[in-house]
Symmetry: C2
Subunit: 676 residues, 2 copies
């Protein structure tokens, strides 16, 4: 246990829940890494589409980025409202569920889940890709670097969000700080030189135009640039992690993330034009990213340049961490609604949803493994999920405000109505804008791979619905409507399965005799095969002397011994057959099979014995029918384990010290009632 | 099940044991493959040592092989006697155990086990190596070919010895037949040409001598040539597989194997000299084995040549099969004596010892994998085990006859004494001869790798003894000497662990109330985490209405409801703590925890639910102490599984048809006794 404690931190009690919450300072790295790191690849993606325009591409950038920054502003306003309206969790799933119904919420859930998984795989592989292009010696280890980063991010998130916020804070704030400084210097230089600054290190030469400007090209550049906005929804999904007051903390976090992102995008667009920077072909040798060219042009290749680029690499690589905050929380909500398996809704040792985290890590790891750590081709699939959830979230908010309007109209609150109109308008504009962007992205990227997302989303929804149907069927089957019906059919018939007469069997027989007057001991012969040594007569004698007579003398019904051959060396078949026969004879009474069990403490003891007892238990439970019950009677090789409770694991003892196990007043009352 | 039936054949009942036995015809391929295939590498190994003698090596071969054939004769005579003296199993382990004591038997067991594992790995890789040198295109697939052959041999042996004998019979008899014909033709040619026959295809030219003949060289050649004798002991180890009368069948099998082997060895030695054939360097291109050169020299490279060489390849590759007959049977005997885990002594579906077969396959597979399918370097380790067991077996027989002599002397049976003297003499000569050969082998091969075997044998013996100590300790702890002591402490206290009030819980409560007046139902809150939705009040109301009142009305003691928080989301800790408290209150009475279990039929259902019930059972049994008992009360989602016996697996139904499950007369008697 101490190893797990070391890696993941000690177990947290339920009452420590509040302590594991975060404020805006940890919120920015924990939820903003994805959003902020978008600034590095969004403009680059747009410029890459514009390469055919040659030198003109740099000057068109401002016109591509302007609507994107405007859209970002709209998104900011709408999510600001969503956070206030849904202070516990304002993710697209909840908003869609409450306002648009189940189908819309499942659509949002499917889009988000796919988005989260892709974000992990693409984020890590993009970061590692950038690292490898900086240090080509690492090239053979791309996959291992990717999996290593994935492991790191997974472990940090298994420790809980506060730890993730603290650990990822350093590179995040370093990136924000260094690039804000670089961009500020660049703008000052540009303004002082009248818009034509001298580059410290010249950016790559831009080629001649091979294509004329066309609407299609602009739309494609816009669609690619929209990836700069992914990750903005993370704050609304992670609201449950904020400490009180969550709305204030959420607003602060959202503010920092969006404002930083907007400044970065706007400044990058401006400086790209001022310095005449264009995207380079990634597949060519000597490739430098847009931000690397820009930083070089502004401050040259000094120490500060390397700090900035280093922090950029960290932020890119760790952008996957944002998914680890959102995905488990989303899955938990979906699981609580019965659309995902229940284990997704169980808090682990650090009060995070372990199953969701591990599932995300496994899926992303499988993607990375399948694509050998190079997931460029998955990027087009990526923005669709984000914009689909934007749209659903906004549309849900529109319905939300319309309902609020209808509500306030009936109550004639004029002031509230005015506010709601404004809120309605903001979300309506947001919904229209993001849905237009979504259509553009789907059309522009359809043949590049977006069709895969379009296919995957319905498949995920179908799976979620199938899971839900299973739970509904189970719930109907399990539902007990009336009061408990009791058939006083008398004590059950007890079968004691045993191998030899020893303390194990003795212990089980002692219990059996107190439970029922009908005890039948069963010994199977030739379980080990036709040549096994058998001592039937010796066993019968032993039984007579050591069991039957003492039992009769003590006033119990004499237990009988039944010796059956195990023709096929399978322990459960003769016993199931016998139980079937007894069932017919004894009518409504239950059959209980007692299985003495030797408790093994070490793995090698597990190898030392045929697992007959375990096998018998499993098979009887699987095939016995619901009137056959299996009782495991333990026997310990080490006598120090004889006292109940003396073997509580250490963690439970420490739990005891913490006073978390109550004094069981009801038990004492119960005991008193019996004595009285 | 039908897939397993197809691959391994249907399950065999214990009473079918006799049918799975074999005669001499199947015995030769099943137990003789190793011995007979030795004829191909024994002479080659001796000639390889003699390479430095150049052309003279061929003529010295007769003098190297003569003592080996003589030794083979001595071995034949002694094993003939051993088989008669131990008609059930005359392996070195049994002979050493009965005559030389436990330590000697463990030495024999360790030597044999190592020998068997090495034989599988080396046999397969030698065969595949020969195949690959014939078809160089297969070179990249050596490891996969090795593992494929291993899989084939394993599966065939899992089907049982008769099948192995039948399947491996074709290549075995083809090899014996074709090479006896080739050698006969060669001898006729040689005699007709006055000892200087003309080769059809000339063998490789022998180089000049680079070394003079020395005793050391002769000893090393003898030690290498001794590998020609490995596998002769297989018949004595496999005696239990022969049908009645086993001694006759065993003698026939031994006869065929040894006589064929002796003829092959003698004829090869003669023809090697006649045709002037020497060993070639295996690492050089154009390498041809001695038998390939010999066959070519006698009959040329026609169709018959390819048939003979093809059968030779098969026999070499399949020589591993012999280990699969001996190893599981040896392990079974060692396990029955308590020196190996018990599962080695359990007969599987085809009445062979499945665990031993799988263990052998896994170990040999690991060796092949570790050495990439090229295990040449293991060959020197190989003959030591064989000669150590020869020596121990002979020495054991010497003691056996000495005892018989002492016995017959006291009874003054003159005739018996004379026979015993002869038997004594034969085994004494055998023991001395094989021990001398063993010493020569250890000395000659020590630096080549034999030291590894010398180290491994004591390690295996130490492991066997540790296992024995474990069983002894367990036996002492389990031993129940006196009659059953009964404390009429009254019915146990029942705890019913449940999640919600549903049919699962209802079913368990119904049983609980019939077992004890003290029933306490336990519900844990916040198992899923601090944010889990809880309905404590609703549960208490439901309990009052649906359980407590109906139970009281039906005349049962009212069961109580206890709601405990699971601060650490671990289900077993609060319940263990409660059981500990109850233990203190209720004195000697037992505590039984009832766990309602939803029986899952599909793997995906397993994923759908937190495995709380299973977890609770495991933890309570592991840490609860031996007065806490766990009862699993099953509940089936599919109502068709409600009737006991209706879900017996199909194989059990067919078992029923075969009439192997008896009529349970005792049960009927029991039932009658109750009614009367």
């Amino acid at each position: 246990m101490s190893f797990l404690d070391l890696i993941l931190g000690r177990r947290l009690a339920n009452r420590e829940f509040g302590r594991s919450k975060i404020g805006a300072f940890e919120g920015v790295p924990a939820m903003g890494l994805d959003g902020i790191s978008s600034s590095s690849y969004g403009p680059e993606a747009a410029l890459a589409i514009l390469i055919p325009l040659g030198a003109a591409s740099a000057s068109y950038m401002v016109w591509i980025m302007a609507p994107i920054v405007a859209l970002l502003g709209i998104l900011f306003a709408s999510y600001w409202q969503t956070i206030r309206a849904y202070p516990n969790n304002g993710g697209a799933y909840i908003v869609a569920k409450e306002n648009l119904g189940t189908n819309a919420s499942l659509l949002a859930a499917a889009a988000l889940m796919i988005d989260y998984v892709l974000n992990v795989a693409v984020g890590i592989s993009a970061g590692v890709g950038a690292l490898v292009s900086a240090v080509p010696a690492l090239h053979p280890y791309i996959l291992w670097l990717c999996l290593g980063v994935l492991l790191l991010v997974t472990l940090v998130n298994l420790r809980g969000t506060p730890d993730a916020g603290r650990i990822f804070g350093v590179p995040t704030y370093l990136y924000i700080g260094s690039f804000l400084v670089i961009l500020a210097i660049g703008i000052v230089k540009s303004v002082m030189s009248g818009g034509h600054p001298q580059a410290a290190v010249a950016p790559a030469h831009l080629g001649h135009a091979t294509e004329a400007l066309s609407i299609w090209l602009v739309l494609r550049a816009f669609a690619s640039g929209c990836t700069a906005m992914t990750g903005v929804e993370a704050v609304s999904n992670g609201m449950s992690d904020f400490r009180d007051p969550p709305v204030t903390q959420g607003h602060r976090t959202l503010c920092i993330i969006v404002i930083v992102l907007a400044i970065l995008l706007a400044a990058i667009a401006y400086l790209v034009r001022a310095f005449g920077i264009g995207a380079m072909d990634q597949t060519q040798a000597g490739y430098r990213s847009v931000l690397s060219q820009l930083a070089g042009a502004v401050i040259g290749n000094g120490v500060f340049y390397y700090i900035a680029i280093g922090s950029l690499l960290c932020v890119l690589t760790l952008s996957a961490a944002t998914s680890f905050v959102g995905f488990p929380r989303l899955c938990r909500m979906v699981a609580e609604d019965g659309f995902l398996p229940k284990p997704f809704a169980i808090a682990g040792r650090r009060l995070v949803f372990t199953v969701g985290i591990l599932y995300l890590a496994a899926t992303a790891g499988a993607l990375l493994f399948a694509f050998d750590g190079i997931t460029d081709r998955l990027i087009p699939l990526f923005a669709i999920g984000a914009f689909l959830t934007f749209t659903l979230s906004q549309a849900g908010m529109v319905v939300h405000w319309r309902r609020a309007l209808a509500d306030s109209r009936s109550r004639r609150e004029r002031r509230a109505r005015q506010v709601h109109y404004i809120q309605y308008a903001i979300n309506a504009v947001g919904a229209v804008a993001t849905s237009v962007a979504l259509i553009i992205i789907v059309v522009a990227k359809f043949t590049e791979g977006a069709w895969l997302t379009v296919l995957a989303i319905p498949a995920v929804i179908a799976l979620l619905k199938a899971i839900h149907r299973h739970y509904e069927r189970l719930g109907r089957a399990l539902h007990a409507s009336g009061p408990l019906t009791l058939d006083n059919s008398g004590p059950p018939v007890l079968l004691v399965a045993f191998q030899n007469w020893n303390k194990l069997t003795e212990n089980a027989m002692r219990l059996a005799l107190t439970l029922s007057p009908d005890v039948l001991a069963i010994h199977l012969t030739h379980l080990a095969g036709p040549q096994a040594k058998e001592h039937e007569e010796k066993l019968r004698d032993e039984w007579r002397v050591k069991v039957a007579r003492p039992a009769a003398k003590a006033g119990f019904t004499e237990p009988r011994l039944l010796i059956l051959p195990a023709e096929y060396r399978a322990i459960h078949e003769p016993i199931l057959k016998l139980a079937h026969d007894l069932e017919a004879k004894f009518g409504p009474r239950r059959i209980v099979v007692l299985i003495p069990m030797l408790i093994e403490r070490h793995w090698y003891q597990f190898l030392m014995h045929p697992q007959w007892a375990r096998q018998l238990r499993t098979q009887l439970l699987a095939h016995g029918g619901d009137r056959l019950t299996v009782m495991s009677v333990p026997w310990y090789l080490d006598q120090c384990h004889n006292v109940i409770g003396s073997t509580l694991p250490i963690r439970s003892r420490s739990a005891d010290r913490n006073g978390d196990v109550p004094k069981h007043r009801a038990v004492k009352r119960h005991a008193r009632a019996r004595r009285g």
